[in-house]
Subunit: 322 residues, 2 copies
């Protein structure tokens, strides 16, 4: 029935189709139609429903086309091995399976939808179908484990630059790697790394970029602290273009990092930071620290000046900007 | 047949049993006896075979007794959750499965034998049945990822102190965590860690302590660079006692580390090091560095003074003492 229903809407060409007409042509009840519409909505189809006029198909789900992505990628390595999924629990988990199976550096797992997307510190990540870039990139950098936090900052810089370059939006970085527009989160980054003694073995870089989410895609609670690129820019985002730009920025910075070390990345991070020179509160497992964020160190640590002038280094934690 | 064969040897009380006698009593051929003896040898039984005299049972395989271990453990947490296996591919892999299943901090996986024991840098680890302590300990320390190399050094100190305290052998530490007696390796340590952004999630501490291996347990190639506690001390090692001592030392140092940081661990490491103040060559993926090892840093790095007096930090690598 779904195919025939969609065919009706295709033929209607963006106009309303009455419940009566559908019911007559498909020989089904009004309730059955309503159920089908609801099911299509969960798949990313958007309908307007007006009493007496019927239903209007507003938009079909946006789908990434693997061949299209590959043809537009400008990278040498990153994203070239592309694993595309309609729906997964979490792209991080799928990427870990690919790591265990020996997938090479640059392998990228992308899904249209995550049912259990993961964020920092065990939080969930809202990943509705076709609305974002929910993806995990496998890296195998030959750097000592101590330098892993530098990678965390590098990824934030790369995604921030990609969004700025592609969409000219005022995105900033909250330490260590949240991307914000007007204090609202638009992208979450999660690096899961694995090491053997003092050597890093692999890193799975999780990126959740809220591209085309609309206000109705957010619960009131989420709406207070999250936004999307579409909401911020007022227009639909070409996810393929953005994906390719993210991969390109990442590859360029990653290459630069391996060649020249952390110094240039650090400068870029500082320039894009919305945390530095601001009053902050940092929550860690050991408690809350309040003060002014003054700098980052080569270790990746955030240096906070307390009220009494004392400087403390925060190696991990959750920053609240006050 | 195996049980009745062993019963014959038990009754012989350490004396020779002739092939004729076995063949008669068990109603089997000489070839069948020989096959059984070979099978028992792979299980850790040791026989002397003398033409015309027959076979003599020299020793039965040493087996750890879980109840015995638990009753002798003096720790609060480490080793209290004990997972005992006769034979595994690698205790590290089993421990990772336990981590994924949510095993608590302190869970210890011990096996009598590993068929694919793993060492540093993809090397294998020789783990014959009943002859060593082949084990993996799960830790979930709440420290930033940067500090993981400090844990690597901590574990080396703990095992080194346990062996010294228990057996009074002159064990020393080669940076970062090999334990040597007379320049031969007697224990290998391998930390596999997993982190989320800048936070460590868990560490699997692999320890391979060559306790009761005899010269014939080593290939000529291994014999040149490896030894055992039994060979070095000239007597059989009580593996249970050593295991309990390792857990106790580890717990004490781990608690001290969480309370007072790296400084006291660093002092202990320096005192037990056989690397410092020695000419060394360090092999890394980027090449070989030769010089004199002068100190370790809080980052865990080894500082090497080159011939021209320049100091370089080695974050990872394989040390050769010259």
């Amino acid at each position: 029935m779904t195919d025939r229903l969609l065919e009706l809407f295709e033929r209607a060409n963006g106009e309303f189709v009455s419940g009566e007409e559908i019911s007559g042509k498909l020989q089904v009840s009004r309730t059955a139609i309503w159920k089908q519409i609801e099911r299509l909505r969960t798949q990313g189809y958007e309908f307007e429903a007006v009493p007496r006029k019927g239903y209007k198909l507003l938009s079909k789900p946006d789908k990434l086309d693997v061949a299209d992505v590959l043809s537009r990628l400008q990278t040498k390595v990153l994203g070239r091995e592309l694993k595309y999924y309609e729906q997964v629990e979490s792209t991080q988990n799928i990427a870990r399976e690919w790591v265990d199976a020996g997938a090479p550096e640059g392998t990228l797992v992308v899904a249209e939808m995550q049912t259990a997307g993961r964020g920092r510190m065990g939080r969930s990540w809202h990943s509705p179908k076709g609305k974002g870039l929910w993806m995990s990139l496998i890296l195998r950098p030959s750097i000592p484990i101590n330098f892993t936090p530098q990678l965390t900052l590098l990824v934030a810089v790369a995604v921030c630059r990609a969004i700025r370059g592609n969409l000219h939006l005022p995105v900033g970085i909250k330490w260590p790697n949240d991307l914000l527009i007007d204090r609202k989160k638009v992208c979450g980054i999660l690096l899961e790394s694995s090491a053997e003694d003092e050597r890093l073995q692999h890193v799975i870089v999780g990126m959740g970029i809220s591209a085309n989410l609309e206000p109705r895609d957010y619960s009131p609670e989420l709406a207070a602290k999250a936004t999307s690129l579409a909401i911020a820019s007022g227009r639909a985002i070409d996810r393929t273009e953005l994906l390719c730009r993210v991969m390109l920025e990442l590859e360029q910075l990653y290459d630069m990092y391996q060649e020249r070390g952390f110094a240039p990345i650090k400068s870029l991070w500082e320039a894009l930071s919305v945390t530095l020179d601001r009053p902050v509160a940092v929550d860690t497992p050991k408690g809350r620290t309040e003060g002014t964020a003054v700098s980052i160190e080569d270790s990746g640590a955030l240096v906070v000046r307390l009220e009494d002038g004392k400087l403390v280094k925060m190696y991990s934690g959750d920053v609240e900007m006050r």
